[in-house]
């Protein structure tokens, strides 16, 4: 019996080659998309699961409260200064390590390399379950001048020779000895470590606050708690400890005044860092929302493919009424036919799954690139996943066959013998087509809007002219900072350099300094401080809203000391001026403001809010000051003509100054583009999915149109004999298949509109929704559908009517 089902199944699939191909291809693509997205989702869920005992490995965090006691955010780290203190005093903590990233210049044998390093405590290897390829785990970070390199970096710097015991020079001044080589850090991690340096290193001496300030949050701290210890209890002890030993103005005094302390410590699981943290915290971060979106898209693609198979299956069941009628007359019962149709659809699905696996394999590299993840296909072949795939395949097969089977079962043989053509299922089929196209149009509109937003955010006015701006970074290293002014002078002499300035912050370098700013009238705010040389604002093309910019010729403007965080003259951005209570920018001019150490400055100007962050984050109230000891970048304005020569000359000047340090430079416009990389990736993924969906849906429509014309070929023949032209017939068919697409628009638009409005809420600067992308998506899909149908029906309509009539 089963053999008979199989032979009919195979012969049926072969007989209707065209439809079989549409079905198999559609399903294969749908299943491949599902597999890829399943791989992505399981990769995202695997983040940091490799950490041993990860159920009790925690990341320290604080809820921050501003000077008025209002909640201002959940920091993803605690102050590194507190970490060893907590570990020592709190019994529930078993192991700990801080992980503070920095990038340094590393030189060996007169060869300079850029190297990412992470400052860590000695427990880090045990905490993270890391074994060394070379070197001794228990002593590798004991010496302040040791460094442990990752395998890849060791090979990059030392080739195939063993690096153990070799000496490297960091930032041109610190000699470190390589004490170990570790395997490359797992891709599935919220952390990214390339080299470890112990926390008592001298490399951080020029930024001592990173390790000893109660106001610095320069990297995460991880703890492993003892078994059975409640994280909440540990957090409570942390808060008590901060109250006892922390600076009283941040903790005790505030609480005494009935306010929240500045920071409330709490612990979150290390494994949650990747998906449950603030997604803007890092470019590699994922989010539950992203996973959900990916899942929904995979489901939609598969659903569209399944709808095709179902629709074509019912149409083919119509074509097979004769077979069904005969089988029934010969005694086949409902369940026999049910099984037969299901065997057919399941074998179709199994075949598609095999092709789908191959497709997924083939497109995995591209997909990984698109998703910015190191995905591997090995997961597909693990027993658990195989079981899911096989189960899923059977399920999809059954779902595909269910309705056609139902149609076959309901069909009565007498109806066929009486010459009736069954009409079962045409309503259901239309509902499915509408659903298919609604999903396709919705997704297409969505990806248009995502692209538009990314484009808008990229070109969004930054408050300054970012073209031709080149940023040279890493000038805060002591060896550079000492000669920074000379370097700027040398740059300025290069032909093709139109301007040179120094700056604390530039796009792409999230570096925040905050302090209080106090007016004599008692008004005070928390404000960002942003150091820059006097020539930066003019070079950026910034015009003051009121007052003036810094003046090189007024010495009083630049008056400051390394102990203070302001200069004689300061400039506010619009936000800061408002926050300080000035009704107009003009009111602020000439006012005096104080910063820590009672340093007095005069507000000489107010400017637009300069945008140095992505459009997802709000600009902060900021004051600009002339502060040479906080410069981190040199900013150059380079001429467009002869750009390559100018860049080469800039590189040469740098090499002359700092042969031990590689130059780090990037155009600001490139950085801005990178901000919207995530949106761009999302956009491409959506576009790709929408394309696949359109292709599958239109192929299904084509199949249906072909079957419909076939079914109506007699009618078409008669109409032609009676004098109808090809044109009339094409119009008839096109109209029949346009209606569901038109209705699909009406369903897709409001849903997509609502979803996109929600998504855009996440941006501070966002485009307004207009009907355009929706119209474009709807029209595009309708066009593709028309071309397909017209192409096919024209062929049929042109055929001599005799053929159709003869074959009927």
């Amino acid at each position: 019996m089963f053999k008979n089902y199989m032979t009919t199944a195979i012969r049926n699939l072969l007989r209707h080659k065209q439809y079989t191909l549409i079905n198999i291809f559609g399903l294969a693509v749908g299943l491949a998309a599902c597999m890829l997205i399943l791989l992505y989702v399981s990769f995202e869920l695997s983040y940091d699961r490799w950490i041993p005992h990860n159920d009790r490995v925690m990341r320290g965090q604080v809820y921050a409260y501003d000077r008025d006691g209002n909640f201002s955010g959940d920091e993803e780290s605690i102050q590194p200064v507190t970490t060893p203190l907590f570990a020592e005093q709190i019994d529930g903590i078993e192991l700990y390590s801080r992980l503070l990233d920095d990038s340094v210049a590393l030189a060996v044998d007169n060869q300079a390399y850029e190297q990412e390093i992470t400052i860590a405590d000695p427990d880090v290897f045990e905490l993270m379950g890391i074994t060394l390829i070379e070197g001794d785990v228990s002593t590798a970070l004991d010496n302040p001048d040791s460094i442990v390199l990752s395998e890849t970096d060791a090979r990059r710097i030392f080739g195939n020779t063993s690096p153990l015991g070799r000496v490297v020079k960091i930032n041109g001044e610190h000699d470190l000895r390589v004490t170990g080589v570790m395997p490359d850090w797992p891709h599935a991690s919220d952390l990214n470590v390339n080299a470890f340096i112990p926390a008592n290193t001298a490399v951080f001496d020029h930024t001592p606050w990173r390790l000893n300030s109660w106001g610095s949050f320069s990297g995460p701290s991880y703890f492993r708690l003892k078994e059975g210890v409640d994280p909440e209890v540990v957090a409570k002890e942390m808060n008590e400890l901060a109250m006892r030993v922390g600076p009283s103005n941040r903790y005790k005094d505030r609480v005494d005044r009935g306010m929240k302390p500045q920071h409330v410590f709490h612990l979150t699981k290390a494994v949650d860092a990747h998906l449950k943290s603030d997604a803007s915290g890092g470019d590699g971060r994922g989010s539950m929302a992203n996973l959900l979106t990916a899942g929904v898209i995979a489901f939609l693609i598969l659903a569209i493919a399944v709808i095709n198979v179902t629709n074509l299956g019912t149409m083919l069941a119509m074509k097979r009424v004769r077979e069904v009628a005969i089988r029934k007359a010969l005694g086949a019962e409902g369940r026999h036919l049910m099984v037969q149709v299901l065997v057919e659809s399941v074998s179709l699905t199994v075949l598609s799954m095999l092709i789908g696996v191959a497709m997924a394999e083939a497109s995995l590299p591209m997909f990984s690139e698109l998703m910015n993840r190191a995905l591997t296909s090995s997961l597909i072949y693990e027993p658990g996943m195989l079981l899911v795939l096989i189960g899923g395949t059977l399920l999809v097969g059954v779902v595909c066959g269910l309705y056609p089977a139902f149609v076959a079962v309901r069909f009565r043989p007498v109806d066929y013998l009486a010459g009736m053509k069954p009409k079962v299922g045409s309503r259901f089929r239309n509902v499915l087509i509408v659903a298919q196209f609604a999903a396709t149009i919705g997704l297409l509109a969505t990806c248009l809007v995502v692209f538009m937003q990314a484009e808008y955010a990229k070109t969004k006015d930054a408050g300054f002219d970012s073209s031709q701006l080149l940023v040279v970074s890493g000038t805060s290293r002591p060896v550079v900072l000492n000669r920074e002014e000379a370097l700027r002078d040398a740059f300025a002499r290069i032909e093709g350099v139109e301007g040179v300035a120094a700056s604390h912050d530039m796009p792409g370098h999230d570096y925040n300094n905050w302090n209080g700013l106090l007016l004599d009238n008692g008004n005070s705010i928390d404000v960002r401080r942003f150091a820059m040389s006097a020539d930066l604002l003019p070079m950026l093309g910034v015009k003051p809203l009121a007052g003036r910019l810094f003046d090189k010729n007024r010495e009083a403007d630049a008056r400051t000391t390394p102990e203070h965080g302001a200069s004689g003259a300061i400039i506010l951005n619009d936000l800061a001026a408002r926050a300080l209570g000035f009704a107009t920018p003009e009111e602020a001019i000439g006012q005096e403001a104080r910063t820590w150490g009672d340093f007095r400055s005069t507000i000489v100007g107010v400017v637009e809010n300069l945008r140095v962050r992505s459009a997802r984050s709000e600009p902060s109230p900021t004051y600009y000051w002339i502060g040479p000891h906080e410069y981190r970048h040199v900013v150059l304005k380079v001429r467009r003509q002869g750009m390559a020569d100018t860049l080469a000359e800039i590189d040469r000047v740098w090499r002359e100054f700092f042969p031990d340090l590689p130059i780090r430079r990037q155009f600001v416009d490139e950085t801005f583009a990178e901000f919207y990389d995530t949106e761009r990736r999302q956009g491409w993924l959506l576009l790709f999915s929408a394309g696949v969906m359109t292709a599958i849906a239109v192929m299904g429509l084509y199949g249906l149109a072909a079957l419909a014309t076939e079914r109506r070929s007699k009618e078409i023949g008669i109409r032609k004999v009676l004098g109808a032209k090809s044109r009339n017939i094409v119009r008839l068919l096109v109209w029949q298949f346009s209606t569901p697409v038109l209705i699909a628009n009406l369903i897709a638009w409001p849903i997509a509109w609502y979803g996109l409005a929600q998504w855009l809420e996440g941006f501070i600067d966002r485009i307004g929704l207009t009907p355009w992308p929706f119209l474009v998506a709807g029209t595009a899909v309708l066009m593709v559908a028309w071309i397909t149908i017209i192409g096919h029906t024209l062929k049929v309509a042109r055929r001599s009517p005799i053929k159709a009539l003869r074959y009927e």
């Binding site: 049926n12 007359a329 010969l330 005694g331 009565r412």
Partner: protein, 227 residues
Amino acid sequence: MLKLHNLSKVYRTDEVETAALNSVNVEIESGEFVAIMGPSGCGKSTLLNIIGMLDSPSSGDYIFMGENVAGYNEAKLSNIRKQNIGFIFQSFNLIDELTVEENIELALLYHNIPASERRERVAHVMDKVGIAHRAKHMPSQLSGGQQQRVAVARAVVGDQAMILADEPTGNLDSAHGQEVMEMLQQLNAEGTTIVMVTHSPAHADYARRTINLFDGHVVTENLRAAE
């Protein structure tokens, strides 16, 4: 074997009601060969379909082997049908995707008969109707006469007590028609009850009795004198 009593069939489509059969009374004995004749549209096929339990009457009784099946549901009818009744159609109605052999086997497929026995019986009937040399061919590769022979083989392979044939010779030339009629006669001689619709008086002569239908009524029944 079967008895129709006051049996009527009314087709209802959206607007029109067609009374295809009107108070028909017919009795058919086991082993009989009955021909049904009448003008096109008089209800011959309807009658045959009801006898074959492919359709149910609107009113009246249908006693089949002592059982009133008039109100039976599809599943019950299907069960009785597959045990007792074989069909031959004007347009052969073989399945295009199956070989001759497989087409004949189809009639045994839904009977829970082991594969080996199925093969034996299929081989036996193919021999009997002289189509064995075409066992592996597809229906489209056969002439009409050959196709109808396959259909006859399919109708009898399950040892059905009764064969219903709706214009079995309608699509055949006279030589092939003759052949099929001889086959039916042979089957009847072996004890199979045969009910056949035909337009050809010559072919009706093979039957022992002819029922003439007109407009859903039985008008006459002629018994052919014994030879």
